[in-house]
Subunit: 327 residues, 3 copies
């Protein structure tokens, strides 16, 4: 139903970044390697490179997310691009024409890239299908479908700590069913060769046919965490709670909240991740969130580098190093 | 009542850009020529020129308009200016002192230019009358009075397609009475020598003494469109509809909506324009909006170049070419 | 209770700027001198210096203030920094963890400086206590505690007109009790050696033990203004009026509003100051606000230079001149 190859140009280079599906291991690795080179830039005193000078990048947010918008805005500014922040109401998208008119207007203003956040699955794909050849689209989260830059910053963080994806056991804990983050993570890990992916959560929050995702299902947290190298905690959306799918925050924490004691069954050097923002006392207690195993703030730092990598690759359509050399 | 010469400095150079009235053909042509030179810039890979580096441009919007604000913001950034976006409530303007205090404060911060959007006619003039000699004011739409940058981007678009203004017949269709866009367009076309300007609309939406504007009035769309070179469709404000001036959207479209069939009576190479955003199915159907005759997205593109031209001329007070040479 | 030395690094250089308390006369004078050097920059045609290029400065506003945010944003841009504007709801701060998580996330994105505005006294200190060593915090107003950049721009303005602080009599008029501006001004003047500071206002708006501040209290405006060199009018917060502490705006103006006639008892060359925005007809009439003695708009202009000075000193931790020489 969704054409994944729309993401690549005729030379197999990244043009849009909409979903992990359809991207091969070489391309994901190239993004991670490019992010590695930007990782140094953001630690420098002058945190800017002129790669996208004169380019116009639009944060096209149909769903509010100060946090995600901020990371893209910082990544764009550190690439020296001009950034335009537009908050649009989702009501407009019900009329498809209006959304397309908005898009075509921005393209007529020579905007070069759209960072799209939308509450409907498939919105970023829809936009990518309708932009002109010189424009790139980055999916910053669409409904319950995908959040590919989040997944890649997670992969970047895992690679920094574990080096070899092909020897890892990774557990994802929480609301797997509704999580675009989990979906993108599972695709990324599968592509990068992670041999064992576990999902842990109550029956109501696990997809109906998990075997189609190639994951192992656990309903007991301790069972699922036993011997893993990486624990990824998902954020619990409060609206799920209200929707009566879960008894209470307290009960959720008792069953699926991460504590030092539960963490003891993982490998001794296991790392703990979370896409943020954390609900302390719901998904994990503060001792874990701020503990030695937590790499949560590293994820945030790597998020800037990974977004700089994706943006610069999509705009340049060839490796950054080569671009720098050519010019 | 309004002193138009406030727009020019003692050497007859553009200082403020408030209305087309009072500007002569040479100056309008100079703006269009300057915009032509910027037109190339916005199509380049690095879409920036350093002409206004270190200048501070304030989008002073008392009336919300994401679209117009965006075009000015992009134009300013592509001239390398720093941009400040301020959304102010119109309630403040009821006390004139408060507005002036706001202005004088921004001037004291060494802001160089105000882009003013306001629901009251004359607001930009009022502000221009009270700023200090080094500050410029651009009218981005004031009440039902004027929208001069819109008119000039329309002239730019017409010139690109028709070359010679002095041989054209142009029709403006819709709510002429309340439209600041139409008023500014009529003044611009008159000054640039368009020999025949027609306005087409229901009796209730045509000014009482149209002959004072030097235009011909038609109430029948087909009659009015016969043989024209350019069709300018105005946006229908929904509030007019609610105000019982018009029976219904459907009825409006039947009488004044543009279709391929109605368009057939124009010259074969006639172009169709609209200031945007389009109400599809009200002012025109999608076949026309997206058809071969439509230059609507070109208008948007040219809007950036025209705004860069006006901004740089008002800030430099001499031709851009000369400025580059002198410095 | 509040550790003031947190503001200085181990070499006694400015690291955070949270309150005037604890800073000595040499440091305040260094800030004023640095501001003097930036004062020229903002009057230039290209109003930018590259001192903070590549730095990321976050306007972290928990309390809305377009005006104050604007001055910091302009100051940061004129230092060539990248600026991020974040408006956060105060409700978040009730859970301390959430605020800290927000902070740590922004730090993980390598933000270099937080400009903090908050309705609770001590908020900027709290944040400064929790940031990492490379991050600086500037207090842009916290509750009824302090507004140190406002106080220093006032000192800058006084020095421009009066040269020697040690010969001055200064009167502060209005709601001394609740004013963070007054508190910071009193500390700054005391440190800079102003020998006589008077506070003038109704009993209900004067602190209970004014002698601890080293000021003289007057309840009659004429008595208090007699022979002063500088008159600082405070802004009257409307909520105080509603809180029944004051009979009416009219009555307040009659007793404490500044008029030409009341101003006649000051020294002939006395200046009139106000932090803005002015409530005309409440704190003073327009003849005074716009009169020859008023230096109110100069305060605004100097506010940019003082904020550039504080920001650059906190980021560089050594004098600006030396920094320029070293690089």
């Amino acid at each position: 139903m969704i054409h994944q190859d729309i993401q690549l140009d005729e030379n197999g280079r990244l043009r849009h970044f909409l979903t992990i599906e359809g991207l091969n291991r070489a391309l994901l690795t190239e993004i991670l390697d490019t992010a590695e080179s930007f990782s140094g830039v953001t630690a420098q005193s002058v945190k800017k490179v002129p790669l996208l000078r004169g380019k116009t990048i639009v944060n096209l947010f149909f769903e509010a997310s100060t946090r995600t918008r901020t990371t893209f805005e910082l990544a764009a500014k550190r690439l020296s691009a001009d950034v335009l922040n537009l908050s649009l109401s989702t009501s407009a998208t019900s009329k498809g024409e209006t959304l397309l008119d908005t898009l075509h207007n921005l393209e007529a203003m020579h905007c070069d890239m759209f960072i799209v956040r939308h509450s409907e699955s498939g919105a970023a794909h829809f936009i990518a299908q309708h932009v002109s050849p010189h424009t790139s689209v980055i999916n910053a989260g669409d409904g319950q479908h995908a959040h590919p830059t989040q997944a890649l910053l997670d992969m970047f963080t895992i690679r920094r700590h574990k080096l070899d994806f092909t020897r890892l056991t990774v557990a994802i804990v929480g609301d797997i069913l509704h999580s675009r983050v989990a979906r993108s993570q599972i695709h990324a890990m599968t592509t990068l060769g992670v041999p064992e992916i576990r999902v842990i959560g109550p029956q109501t929050l696990i997809p109906v046919k998990p075997e189609s995702l190639g994951v192992h299902v656990y309903h007991d947290l301790r069972d699922g965490l036993r011997g893993v190298d990486v624990v990824i905690m998902l954020r619990l959306q409060k609206e799920r709670m209200l929707g009566a799918m879960l008894p209470s925050e307290h009960e959720y924490f008792r069953l699926y909240g991460l504590t030092e004691e539960k963490l003891a069954v993982t490998k001794p050097d296991a790392i703990v991740m979370h896409p943020g923002p954390i609900n302390r006392g719901v998904e994990m207690d503060s001792a874990v969130a701020d503990g030695q195993r937590s790499v949560i703030l590293q994820q945030v730092t790597h998020g800037i580098a990974v977004r700089m990598a994706v943006m610069s690759m999509a705009m340049q359509r060839h490796p950054v190093g080569a671009a720098a050399g050519e010019k």
